[in-house]
Symmetry: C2
Subunit: 476 residues, 2 copies
């Protein structure tokens, strides 16, 4: 399955032709310099808890960090003839997936209303990495690879927009990342709670009707979340549970217990899709994705204009990316409460791989497939330990502190989730425990001057969510 | 629990005082005349399938129907000190419940945007019974009983409206019937699908926030539906399922499988409420109600201006009420498909009783109670049989025909649902099998001239639900 093997030499591919691409500009070393083996860790002392101080200290100590050479991006035709709309294709997972598929010969269109960028503007946030506009991104991709990614800029809650796009593009698959995907954002206040559920549920209902009416053979690949399951005291199966009760048996949808308006919205999507799949005989795959980490994929690393977003703020930043940036800037990793909270994780490159596998393997019409899309599970404390180790390898002294948990959740619990469905279809994971975090840490160090220290502490708590407008600034 | 015992004589109660009320006007026999015992059934022949023909035939054959004497309505003070907002209090279950509680000394306010009346207007429907306006209804109630029911006319999706009302009324309980409650309506087209979910989910989220912010001790009694469970091949428990899986145990939310956008919206409400109950330490009771039938309660029967609605159209008419009216007008009972579909049912008077019990018995804060609110379960074929028997007792020859099922559902399946929680709290059911259907049939006959024969066949099917505006007229 893995197609991103290092090609012997970079060359410019002509439109749609197979081959390896490596952008010349990306080959130069930018950012921190290579570390001397065994360099002493940089102490996390006063004055270092600012990006500039951190980088200065790194330089002074002689510690520096090698940037990995950009991976080669191979162009193939394996997806030829498949036409895929990526809803939310300008977002973190969507952008990486769009390029991954385009590089593999799928005809790709990005459908996005760019709301993710707008939420950052509204809250005063910015991605660590300086992302280009959608228009510049796809233009650069075409320039480098000769492959066109069509764009449909608009809102899937606007059915007229969606209808026109589906009729024009005639997708064979739609990948639906296009939702408000932050639990803390959904918990900021009542307004954002209602917005999150209305936006996510309406969008998905519209997509279901658009497929039913205008592209009935189209396979919907919908992103759910492992967070739909909550933390039950039994093993988490993939979407369904075989139940024996009072001497009778049935295979039922796995009981869900979401822990934020966002997670709940994805449960509602799953429940709605289960109904339409049966009733309208649709082809639907529900991917319960874990927490994604990492930045570069072979495709996004080709050029600075293709760089993916990396969110480290307390609202949109996922736990691990936030830890990595806290570690990079010399701020203690902020573990919520006891840190025994355990979740599933996966590398952004595995997200791409899973999406491709899902697209290529629809189930029988009328039967919703559910895959748990993560590769490893870790507690928050274990994650903090992995980031600390990675920092040490790069000459950084990373510390950890516990802060009051802004969420209402179990901080110590049983957690054992299944994830064999995608592996059975050929998924070959990139494991965090293999030391892969170092590459992500290097990206954080490269952009360390862009870190806004105001954004790395929690700003939303589950209990105070109310009528008053939620604020994005630090509250603790 | 039953308080509607026949009082020795009707008298006009002063404001809030206990006593029995019987409106003089209601005592006169209106509509069909008493039936002679053993009168031959009226044949269901050609020319009879119109209301006028039916009543003419009844008269010609000497068959006629006795109207039951209006039940006495006893006024008590048992609910004194409890302040209850009934959201959707102008609707079928809401109106009956509002009067039931007011008669028992609860301070009642009705909150309603009157959308149920508007949907009838939009579709060209009307209730069989000529209901008075909300304003005339509550004025008549006060005139007869001296008890005031405050009204808040507005939409709970408008949070400002809801906030002001909750702050003003200071409820100790809110009963939430205020949703779009028709499965066929939700399946008419995409627009109504999205409306149903947005309306129902937003309204409930708003109510949860209003309670959390402005009335944190208020007990929410929310109407769900037995249809949330679908038709699993195991027993249906009350809200939760004790699961043993791979040697571990947990008590989990019962897996839900809704079969229309409407039923799904109630699942989403339940899932959302389960979260807020835990996270915000709320008092919430979720009532999974069965199919309600019947018209009169002791309170609504007091005066023609208090009469409850009775829907027999294919969109808002529940199965049994529709059968009763089909039987009354001499139209064959239209069984969808094989007729093995089995569901839970209850008398409208038991709805009132259950609501009162639920209000009076909140669970501990932070733990959502779930009660299955039905008293008997029947297959559609069995229901048709009961209506046929009831018709025979009243001198009507009722026939049945199978029509293509407009829904996608199992027509033969296992069904065994628990309903002990409310009984354990004192619920004393009125059973259909006791011949109680005859009273409902008599109401249908009383208003037989108002029947619109165009409304009694299905107009919405589950598979054609699409983008084109759904139509309300007969399609088969």
């Amino acid at each position: 399955m893995r197609t991103a093997t290092r090609a012997p030499g970079g060359r410019r591919a002509a439109g749609g032709a197979a081959g390896a691409v490596r952008a010349p500009a990306a080959a130069g070393a930018v950012g921190p310099r290579p570390a001397a083996a065994g360099a002493p860790p940089v102490a996390n002392a006063g004055g270092l808890a600012t990006p500039a101080g951190r980088r200065g200290a790194l330089a002074a100590s002689g510690a520096a960090v090698a940037e990995a050479p950009p991976p080669a991006c191979e162009l193939t035709d394996e997806g030829k003839g498949k036409r895929v709309i990526i809803i939310g294709g300008d977002g973190y997972c969507g952008w990486a997936s769009a390029l991954h598929l385009s590089a593999r010969g799928y005809e790709v269109a990005i459908m996005d209303n760019l709301s993710r960028r707008n939420w950052d503007e509204q809250l005063g946030f910015d991605t660590l990495t300086p992302i280009a506009s959608l228009h510049k991104r796809v233009a650069k991709w075409q320039e480098l690879t000769g492959r066109e990614i069509k764009t449909y800029v608009g809102d899937i809650c606007d059915f007229g927009f969606l209808e026109a796009a589906v009729k024009e593009f005639e997708p064979t698959a739609m990948v639906h990342f296009g939702e408000q995907r932050s639990a803390p954002y959904s918990m900021m206040d009542r307004n954002k709670a209602v917005f999150t559920q209305m936006n996510n549920i309406t969008g998905t209902i519209n997509v279901l009707y658009a497929i039913k009416e205008f592209a009935p053979e189209c396979h919907l690949v919908k992103l759910g979340t492992m967070g739909e399951y909550g933390t039950p005291n039994i093993d988490i199966e993939e979407g369904y549970l075989d139940v024996e009760h009072k001497g009778r048996k049935d295979r039922l949808p796995y009981p869900k217990q979401g822990n934020s308006w966002y997670h709940l919205s994805k449960i509602h999507d799953s429940t709605n899709m289960f109904f339409t799949t049966k009733t309208w005989n649709m082809k639907v795959t529900d991917l319960n994705q874990g927490v994604v980490y990492g930045v570069d994929t072979p495709e996004t690393a080709l050029d600075e204009a293709l760089v993916n977003r990396m969110d480290y703020d307390s609202i949109f930043g996922t736990a691990l990316n936030r830890f990595i940036i806290q570690g990079a800037v010399g701020y203690p990793l902020t573990v919520y409460g006891k840190g025994g909270q355990t979740r599933g994780f996966l590398d952004i490159r595995d997200t791409c791989q899973c999406i491709q596998i899902a697209i290529d393997n629809p189930g029988p019409a009328g039967e919703m497939l559910v895959f748990n899309q993560f590769t490893e599970q870790f507690s928050v404390n274990k994650l903090a330990g992995l980031v600390t180790e990675s920092g040490a390898r790069l000459g950084l002294d990373v510390t950890t502190k516990s802060i009051p948990n802004p969420r209402r959740e179990k901080e110590e619990h049983y957690y054992n989730a299944m994830n064999t469905n995608l592996k059975d279809l050929g998924m070959d994971p990139i494991l965090m425990s293999d030391g892969k975090l170092d590459d992500v840490m290097k990206v954080a160090l490269k952009y360390i001057d862009r870190v806004d220290m105001d954004l790395i502490l929690p700003a939303t708590d589950w209990v105070s969510s109310g009528v008053k407008q939620g604020v994005s600034k630090v509250v603790s």
